[in-house]
Symmetry: C2
Subunit: 370 residues, 2 copies
């Protein structure tokens, strides 16, 4: 059930089978370097989110440039990272249920593992499992800083849960998870700033209550590619979770301001399979090759072609000039609307440089939802 790779190392780019998930290695490395340079000298660490790339190879490139570990959303994703040699993982998510918690504490035997909580009963279960496994599990209290997803409310509710963690044998209170996910894709920098200022205020209020309760907060973790410079400069965040910056996508490229400095390094290479009429062409990449939750892909370098709709295995392109030569077999580079769920559709990154495939990286945590 692992699909064959669409190319071999050394294959010329023109011969990569399609649809294929292609990484432009030069652009990718510039993105990695750009992020490292933008954080140099700041009192924050980068812990990039592995839910974007799902690939230990990419994680090691990030670690080599100063990242202190990775974030994961699922235990199975974390297992793939630890098995791939990553030594420090933050589960930036609540882990619920006996089976998953048992795997989580098992993983904590092999690596530095931290997890988030927003529920007292879950704290009790984690403590019980940690003691049974003979590990001390690091726990962050997730605070709702405006994303309105998981997380207890800032201030007293967060401090109360932190106190409960701190007094649960087997657990160590490690800090706060304070991710403002809804701010990341706000187009206008001023509105994005407002959202992050509110998040920072919520974190400060919580830190005050923790201090009043005598609790030390080592870590405040949050931020994504859209806002990370604001959290980095906030004075309260200590770890940044940005992930999309390595590859970018069509939706993130619509975000104005500093995030625009990162380049599109990820493409779905597609082939025209039909041009039966002048006004449209159809490519071999649809819903099973491209996530469309954040909009349709953009055809790189071809503003004359609009990707208008996707069905399972078809992408329909409207041509602004019906006279355009675009025959079956023509190849187009699509920038996915949303990188994370697009990557999760593939087993292989096809990594290209100078017109050839330089590497194939397995997407080890593809489908790792458990």
């Amino acid at each position: 059930m692992t699909t064959r790779p669409p190319a071999d190392v050394g294959t010329p780019v023109e011969e990569i089978d399609t649809p294929a998930l292609v990484v432009d290695l030069d652009a990718y490395e510039r993105n990695l370097d750009r992020m490292a340079a933008s954080l140099a000298g700041l009192p924050v660490r980068l812990r990039p989110h592995a839910k974007t790339h799902k690939c230990p190879v990419v994680a090691h490139h990030q670690l080599a440039r100063g990242a202190v570990g990775v974030c994961c959303q699922k235990v199975s994703e974390a297992e793939a990272m630890v098995q791939g040699g990553v030594r420090s993982v933050l589960l930036s998510n609540e882990i619920v249920g006996r089976r998953k918690i048992a795997r989580l504490v098992g993983l904590a035997r092999e690596a530095d593992v931290a997890v988030c909580v927003d529920d007292a009963e879950n704290v009790r279960e984690l403590g019980e499992a940690a003691r049974a496994a003979g590990v001390e599990l690091r726990v962050l209290v997730e605070v709702n800083v405006g994303a309105n997803r998981c997380g207890v409310e800032p201030g007293e509710p967060a401090a109360a849960l932190a106190a409960r963690v701190a007094t649960t044998p087997g657990l160590r209170f490690a800090g706060l998870q304070a991710y403002q996910g809804r701010a990341q894709h706000i187009r206008e920098p001023a509105r994005r700033r407002e959202a992050i200022e509110a998040a920072v205020a919520a974190v400060r209020a919580t830190l005050d209550r923790l201090r009043a309760g005598g609790l030390r907060c080592e870590v405040v973790s949050g931020a994504g590619t859209g806002t990370y410079e604001m959290e980095a400069a906030s004075g309260v965040y200590t770890e940044l979770q940005a992930g999309s910056y390595v590859f970018m996508d069509a939706d993130y490229k619509r975000v104005e301001g500093p995030p625009a400095a990162f380049e599109n390094a990820l493409f779905v290479l597609a082939t025209v399979m039909s041009r039966a009429v002048a006004e449209r062409a159809v490519v071999d990449a649809g819903l099973k090759a491209l996530a469309v939750d954040s909009g349709m892909p953009v055809v790189a370098g071809r503003p004359d072609l609009e990707f208008t709709r996707a069905s399972d295995e078809h992408g329909v392109l409207a041509l602004s000039d019906p006279g355009t030569e675009l025959r079956p077999g023509a190849r187009l580079w699509l920038v996915p609307g949303h990188c994370d769920p697009t990557i999760n559709l593939y087993d292989w990154y096809v990594c290209v440089r100078n017109g050839r495939v330089e590497a194939l990286w397995p997407i080890t945590a593809r489908g790792a939802v458990l």
Copy 2:
């Protein structure tokens, strides 16, 4: 890179790890039987689309109830079906490019394989490859009957391409592909009927031209779950490609009329992982567990819960009554908005009956986009 299954055979339903793709075997078998019964005595054959299920086990259940083979969209999908013992496959799609065409004619050595065309140069390439492989490839001309995707226009353009197929050594003109995909999800039966009547008229006009040119048309293939009874009664269609009927989904259940007789047999079983505030709960199934291209999932049996948004690994539910008891660990059965791309996210069907897992079926063609 194949994920572990979320349960074993014999596991009680309450212990299936989540998110999991679960088949209600009783409902599934009723859907299979219902389709077979609805076509009994009609002069049409069922060739269900395997892009829905991507699983030879399901294909064999369909064949056992009278299906004459399956449809596939991709060569790699067809390979998975033939390797799983299916003896007749229609590639209901154009296959473009040297590598793919070589695999297609290779497959035609092992099974009855047909393919669609809408381009003269593609016909030439298919003929060349078929002769090189020493096979005779059956070819259907795809006609645009209103879906405005692939396909030549009906009437003369279709007949001209059919004549070209018929005169190309290595190829045999087998009929017409005439799928009105855009009609399937039209809610109102009357408007759905209009669309199919227009498709039938387009097919008739094409058949007239074929006859005038002395070409025999064995097969007219088309139809989906939303309209198949209309194509079945049309007098021109000979094969029906419906696929979703085996599982159904939230979007198809919004289609009024006969398709509503099929039951939801496919669910994403999810667990509440956060209930930090009264007005919302968060489940562990998001964009990587559920395709949202046709809308958000519906929570089965819980009209009081609305699945309002999905991020990578989170689904946010709004509670109509904030007083509802819904704690972390509670399990919910989600009906995906669109079955096909949801199934493509998983490696395993967890098949349940009488409260236990009865079988695990591998989704062999998951990710088969090449």
